[in-house]
């Protein structure tokens, strides 16, 4: 009897696992659930981290909220799963999360071998090095023999190895899975150098015991286009995520902010009218409400607002727009036409 029972249990569990994998299109699943399950960082200030009240804040979090606003007309239909760098892609592949906005670098192998679709970049980053001022190091080229704190399973880990190898230098890596544990280890002096994306270094430094004791070295050794990602297999969902990011960029280009969006509804400019759904068409094409872009701008804001609120010069991170400025201001943020 015991055998029969355990057999039935085993069958049930395996069937459940199988039906999970076949749960149909991602968008339908998300709509049926009534919320989006989003994988975020959880430990990087300015990108994805809960504040002292437990409310999730950050550029990546706002990106996820924009997608929620587009699909549900409500930016708060999001549930967050904090993931380590090592867990993130598996969580997306397995269907544990619907959307990954966790400062993940878009690369060829991730796009192909991991079965992921990255969409428009929401932050252009590059890898840098942070050292204690007391070391007196001025350039990353002086780091021969240094002990380097790095997150496992990241492009950073490879870039650092490549950088030291190509400059004929030796490194001793200290590799710890949790972002916050790694930062603690670095601040306690276990490593000479912490390497990561420059934005993350700024975020880590912002929460350091003594932020002024650390400098970020001038060398940026890699390109890190950070982009949200979805699984292969549901192009409609991919399009919605893609255009949710683009809508924030386009809104900034058109000068639409969360403050003036209601006024802009009365604009006579057909480009604005099309964008905000006054002239219908875009919403239907994406399979969304015509007010989807309006909802994003109204509830989350345009890209400039989101940037300044989370990581801009007036925050603890104090990051300049740089590559993340609009193309009209010398940056890389550029949106295709919304028509």
């Amino acid at each position: 009897m015991k055998l029969a029972k355990s057999l039935v249990l085993f069958l049930a569990v395996s069937l459940m696992a199988v039906s999970f994998a076949y749960a149909g299109k991602d968008l339908d699943a998300v709509k049926a659930k009534g919320f989006i399950q989003v994988g975020v960082n959880g430990g990087v200030f300015g990108f994805g981290m809960p504040d002292e009240k437990g409310v999730w804040k950050g550029l990546d979090v706002d990106t996820a909220r924009a997608v929620s606003a587009a699909i549900f007309g409500d930016a708060d239909k999001v549930k967050y799963t904090p993931l380590t760098a090592q867990q993130r892609f598996t969580a997306l592949q397995s269907g544990e999360i619907d959307l990954l906005t966790r400062n993940a670098t878009r690369t060829l192998s991730r796009e192909t071998q991991l079965g992921l679709n990255f969409v428009t970049v929401n932050y252009y980053d590059g890898q840098g090095f942070m050292v204690p001022k007391a070391l007196g190091v001025k350039s990353a080229k002086e780091l021969d023999g240094a002990t380097v704190c790095v997150l496992p399973g990241t492009t950073t880990e490879q870039n650092a190895a490549d950088f030291f190898r190509s400059n004929n230098m030796k490194m001793n890596p200290v590799v710890i899975e949790s972002t916050s544990e790694l930062a603690k280890t670095f601040f306690a002096g276990r490593c000479d150098v912490l390497t990561s994306d420059a934005s993350q270094l700024a975020g880590t430094r912002a929460v350091a015991p003594n932020p002024k004791d650390y400098i970020i070295l001038p060398e940026i050794i890699s390109k890190e286009p950070l982009a949200p990602a979805v699984r292969h297999g549901d192009d409609q969902f991919r399009d919605i995520v893609d255009f949710s990011v683009l809508a924030m960029i386009n809104a900034e280009e058109l000068g639409i902010t969360s403050a003036n969006v209601d006024e802009m509804l009365k604009s006579t400019n057909p480009v604005v009218q099309r964008f905000l759904g006054v002239i219908p068409g875009n919403g239907e094409a994406l399979g969304l409400d015509e007010k989807w872009a309006y909802n994003i701008v109204k509830q989350v804001g345009n890209y400039g607002e989101v940037f300044e609120r989370n990581v801009g010069v007036n925050t603890k991170l104090g990051i300049e727009r740089g590559l993340n400025a609009l193309w009209t201001n010398g940056g890389l943020m550029y949106s295709p036409p919304f028509k």
Binding site: S109, G145, F164, M171, L182, R190
Partner: protein
């Protein structure tokens, strides 16, 4: 003879049918899960297969028993990880056995303080999750010790800092391998001597001090070899160069913290097993042994231990396996064990199923070989009934 008993009434045949059905179901489900996974992976265009093993790893590993660089293949990186797991598990098991036995015996001590201290140790260490203990020890290592430039230097050749413990070792010299071989020869000789001694004792009743002779030889003979090679005394002394120490041998804080955490946690369980084993030997036996004039050490060696070991070995095996498996918590404190290395590889290649299968396979091999050895030892120790 009743010729036609239908097979469903024949108990033996019915049993075979049930067995076949069970096998068919297991295979059916396995095949279903396998083909389904394959189809899903293909649908999501996720790469499959073990072709990635030959590719360049392109990441560094903090510590390694063999030569390794980022230019080596994934296979080599996996080997480094597996060896690191073996290293921490093996050293951990040895220390756990020693510490656990000492505490287990202390627990039975007639000295009130000693036995209470041992009891407190067991209660506390058993009940704190091992992951917390690891974090605790690791934090102690990197918070309490100074930076390399201010390293503690209690005596020449030893440095303590938050990069680990760095100590001088004798500089490489052919004498060392010769000494190693000599020691091995002494150990083999000691084993043979011990067997001969036992045989002689069984025949004539005269004991032979094989152990003492072996220990003396193990100390004297390698020293003689060392002198024959001209007594090389050159040391490889570590010195601070640039960011870190060069030379000598470094024991990293990650390794130390993991070893300490695993040993302290597991030895609490081993202590209880040892105590239970000793208590399982009837009091009357000890009294009887004393009554025929055996000294306490001989009572332990000849009467208590042989019987206690029978009780101790099976649960001890499972604690040894626990320690090996718990070593995979290394990833939390940055020790490059097999799981940590494989996780990085999974992330770079995206081949989670292959990676997890490798982890399972490697741990299965570790566990099965440990339990094979322990089962063999258990059989050797088991009661031989006459």
């Amino acid at each position: 003879m009743p010729s036609a008993v239908p097979f469903w009434r024949d108990e033996a045949k019915r049993a075979i049918v049930f067995q076949l059905a069970a096998i068919a179901i297991v295979f059916g489900i396995s095949y279903y899960l396998f083909s389904n996974t394959q189809a899903n992976l293909q649908r999501q265009s996720i790469a499959t297969g073990f072709g990635f093993l030959d590719k360049e790893a392109s990441f560094e590993i903090g510590e390694s028993l063999i030569e390794y660089s980022a230019a080596d293949s994934y296979t080599r990186a996996l080997l480094v990880g597996a060896l690191n797991t073996v290293k921490v598990s093996f050293i951990g098991i040895v220390f756990t056995l020693i510490l656990g036995t000492v505490i287990g015996i202390s627990r039975l001590s007639k000295n009130w303080l000693v036995s209470k201290l041992a009891a407190a140790y067991i209660e506390v260490m058993q009940n704190i999750p091992v992951l917390l203990q690891l974090f605790f020890w690791y934090a102690i290592f990197y918070e309490a010790f100074p930076a390399p430039r201010q390293a503690l230097n209690p005596f020449t050749g030893l440095f303590l800092c938050n990069r680990g413990m760095i100590f001088a070792v004798p500089a490489a010299h052919p004498a060392h391998s010769a000494m190693g071989w000599t020691l091995l020869a002494v150990l083999v000789g000691g084993w043979v001597l011990n067997r001969w001694g036992k045989k002689r004792q069984a025949a004539t009743g005269k004991p032979f001090p094989a152990l003492r002779i072996t220990i003396a030889a193990a100390i004297v003979l390698p020293a003689v070899v060392w002198l024959l090679y001209g007594a090389p005394t050159a040391m490889d002394i570590p010195a601070l160069r640039g960011f870190n120490f060069k030379g000598g041998v470094t024991v990293s804080p990650e390794f130390s913290a993991l070893l300490l955490g695993l040993v302290i946690y597991t030895s609490a369980f081993v202590a209880e097993i040892v105590r239970a084993g000793i208590q399982s030997v009837g009091k009357g036996q000890i009294e009887a042994a004393m009554a025929i004039g055996l000294r306490p050490a001989k009572v332990l060696q000849l009467v208590v231990l042989p019987q206690a070991l029978r009780v101790i070995i099976p649960p001890l095996t499972s604690q040894m396996l626990n320690l090996t498996k718990n070593s995979s918590l290394a990833i939390a404190i940055g020790y490059a064990d097999f799981v940590a290395v494989t996780n990085t590889i999974i992330n770079q290649t995206g081949q989670a199923i292959e990676g997890v299968a490798l982890i399972m396979l490697v741990f299965l091999v570790f566990s099965l070989s440990t339990s094979l050895f322990m089962n063999w030892y258990n059989k050797k120790m088991a009661l031989v009934e006459r």
